[in-house]
């Protein structure tokens, strides 16, 4: 299958430079430490009554670690498009790919999937590191129970990211715009502080972001909730999978038509 070839190619190029892999992990860890220590400094300790009452998790490092790792994964497909595809557009390799009989959607998905898998590997290391230094106890059953929710989240993230696939083909340089978007997701999905402290309208808006529900479901699993207790989040996620795949695909089809008029290189 062509998609496997795309993934293999992306992996080869990424892991060819061990130093880059190492620095990516380092960036992930430094970023995490900053947020957790900052949060603890403000709270004056690792436990927060406000967090406990509004989200069920009172332990700030656990709260932040789960949110942070999922946030990183949720923006991975977006990053794959706005940086990965843009790089190929700029260099000209994208056109070499398009000229092949493989479907463009397969190429684009392959790239997002590669980045998502690579980021998952990086985040596994970051997560393990965070769990270790903040003494977060994780059981095997929590991990096992999180897995299906994680897969469902990935589906939603891929669909959400696909919106950017079409946009980058057509508009080329949207990295800075996407970055604003990525960081505002930190804000709007309750990654480092509970959504409850935000105005009602923000809380409503946050519901259309897959990350919000993914984070809330997995945090639920971490404090021992059963699937039926996190059913609302899962229902939302399933709904958003369909919504974003549809929107993403529609935008892609339109962008592809426009791009074929302008040319895939062209700058």
């Amino acid at each position: 299958m062509a998609i496997i070839a795309v993934i293999e190619k992306e992996f080869r190029m990424f892991f060819r430079y061990p130093l880059r892999v190492f620095s990516s992990i380092l960036v992930g860890i430094v970023f995490l430490l900053q947020f957790v220590f900052f949060g603890q400094a403000v709270l004056g300790g690792r436990y927060s009554q406000l967090l406990a009452s509004s989200t069920g998790i009172g332990d700030y490092p656990t709260y932040a670690l789960v949110g942070y790792v999922l946030w990183w994964l949720s923006v991975s497909p977006m990053e794959a498009y706005v940086w990965g595809i843009r790089r190929e557009l700029q260099r000209g390799t994208f056109e070499t790919n398009i000229a092949a009989p493989v479907r463009i959607t397969e190429l684009l998905l392959g790239i997002a999937l590669s980045w998502l898998i690579m980021d998952s590997l990086l985040m596994t290391v970051v997560f393990a590191f965070g769990a270790l230094i903040f003494h977060i106890s994780i059981t095997f059953s929590i991990l096992l129970k999180s897995l299906p929710v994680l897969m469902l989240s990935f589906l939603a993230f891929l669909g959400f990211g696909f919106i950017f696939a079409g946009l980058v083909m057509m508009l080329k340089h949207i990295g800075p715009f996407a970055q604003i978007f990525e960081f505002s997701m930190l804000f709007f999905s309750g990654i480092f502080f509970p959504l409850g402290v935000m105005p009602g309208i923000v809380v409503e808006f946050s519901k259309i972001l897959p990350l919000t529900h993914s984070v809330s479901a997995i945090r639920g699993i971490f404090i021992g909730k059963s699937y039926s207790e996190i059913a609302p989040s899962i229902t939302w996620l399933i709904l958003l999978v369909f919504v974003y795949w549809l929107i993403g695909y529609a935008i892609f089809r339109w962008a592809e038509r426009v791009t074929r008029v302008m040319g895939y290189g062209g700058y």
Binding site: A2, I4, A5, V6, E8, K9, R12, M13, R16, R91, G92, T93, E95, T96, N97, I98, A99, A100, P101, V102, L107, M170, L171, R257, V258, R260, V261, M262, G263, Y264, G266
Partner: protein, 321 residues
């Protein structure tokens, strides 16, 4: 069936992204061209920068939507049957970076074999055969970024043969190569047509290359085909007319436009301040040309009669080099 059939093909590019409700201006790049390429033919599109060569290739390889006219490759409409066409053709695009520099030659070909649906059972043999054919087998595991320009181009050609295409499109295949590499590439292309019976459409702005290599040539300028024939046929256009090369010093180039003869600058040596002009000038007119040049302040260094070449056809048709 013809390998390629082009009827009144047109292309305009929007100056801005054509979003709904946005008024955009369009630039005409190809203004209605028609030609046919037979199977097993080596056909050349010859034209200066901006003539519309790349635009034409991109439309025929289904990478770009035409604005008007029709074209068929191997009997398939380029608008409707893009996928079918892509399976049976391939191209070497313009530019140096059409392959992955961070992969080795072998890894690049393996990747493209997969996205061209080369049967798994043939993959290994085909890649090995191609790498040997272009002389890169020994260097197969080196990253492309360490390749010379010539090696990169040879690999781009190997990639273009990965699906054993019936029609091959080559956009300025020798651009930027040194003499040795360019020679290799030209001989290689000729062999593809003679020995493997491939159909090749190539673009070039080197007259010598087109003359030496192509079975037929279409001269394209400002998006229009202004002549189409065999190299011999094209040269007949200037037969009987003498080509003259005049080498001068201190030549004011802006004067050339007002000359009543079509002369073009074919060589310029800025270090020495000399310029070589070329064009068709009758024996009777020659003294007048020389006189005019002298009057405009230049010093004549030499005047030579030359055999007419494709260059003279080009100068005659376009008024420039």
């Amino acid at each position: 069936m013809k390998a390629i059939e082009v009827r009144e093909l047109r292309k305009s590019y929007p100056k801005k992204i054509p979003l709904p409700f946005r008024k955009v201006q369009w630039v005409e790049a190809v203004r209605g061209i028609s030609f046919e390429v037979r199977r097993g033919e080596l056909f050349g599109l010859l034209g200066p920068n901006g003539a519309g060569k790349t635009t034409t290739i991109k439309m025929l390889t289904t990478l770009l939507e035409p604005s008007g006219g029709t074209a068929a490759v191997l009997g398939h409409d380029i608008r409707r049957d893009a996928r079918e066409i892509r399976k049976r053709i391939n191209l070497v695009a313009e530019g140096e970076r059409t392959l992955y520099w961070r992969l080795s030659a072998y890894e690049n070909l393996k990747y493209f074999a997969r996205i061209y649906y080369v049967p798994k059972s043939e993959e290994k043999e085909r890649i090995e055969g191609l790498l040997k054919l272009v002389g890169l087998w020994e260097r197969r595991d080196d990253l492309i970024m360490n390749y010379s320009r010539g090696m990169k181009q040879r690999l781009a050609i190997a990639k273009a043969l990965i699906n054993d295409p019936e029609v091959l499109f080559l956009d300025e295949p020798t651009l930027g190569l040194d003499v040795q590499s360019a020679l290799f590439v030209r001989e290689f292309i000729r062999k593809l047509v003679d020995e493997q019976k491939k159909t090749v459409l190539l673009t070039t702005h080197y007259l010598g290359e087109a003359e030496e290599l192509c079975d037929r040539i279409a001269i394209i300028d400002h998006g229009r085909i202004i002549a189409l024939d065999t190299p011999e046929g094209l040269k007949r256009l200037v037969k009987g007319e003498d080509a003259v090369e005049i080498k001068v010093r201190d030549f004011p180039a802006e004067k050339l436009e007002k000359f009543p003869w079509k002369l073009a600058v074919v060589k310029e040596n800025t270090e020495r301040g000399t310029v070589t002009l070329r064009g068709q000038v009758d024996e009777d007119d020659l003294p007048k040309v020389v006189e005019l040049l002298v009057k405009s302040g230049s010093r004549i260094l030499s005047v030579e009669q030359k055999e007419p070449t494709l260059e003279d056809v080009f100068i005659k048709l376009t008024g420039r080099d």
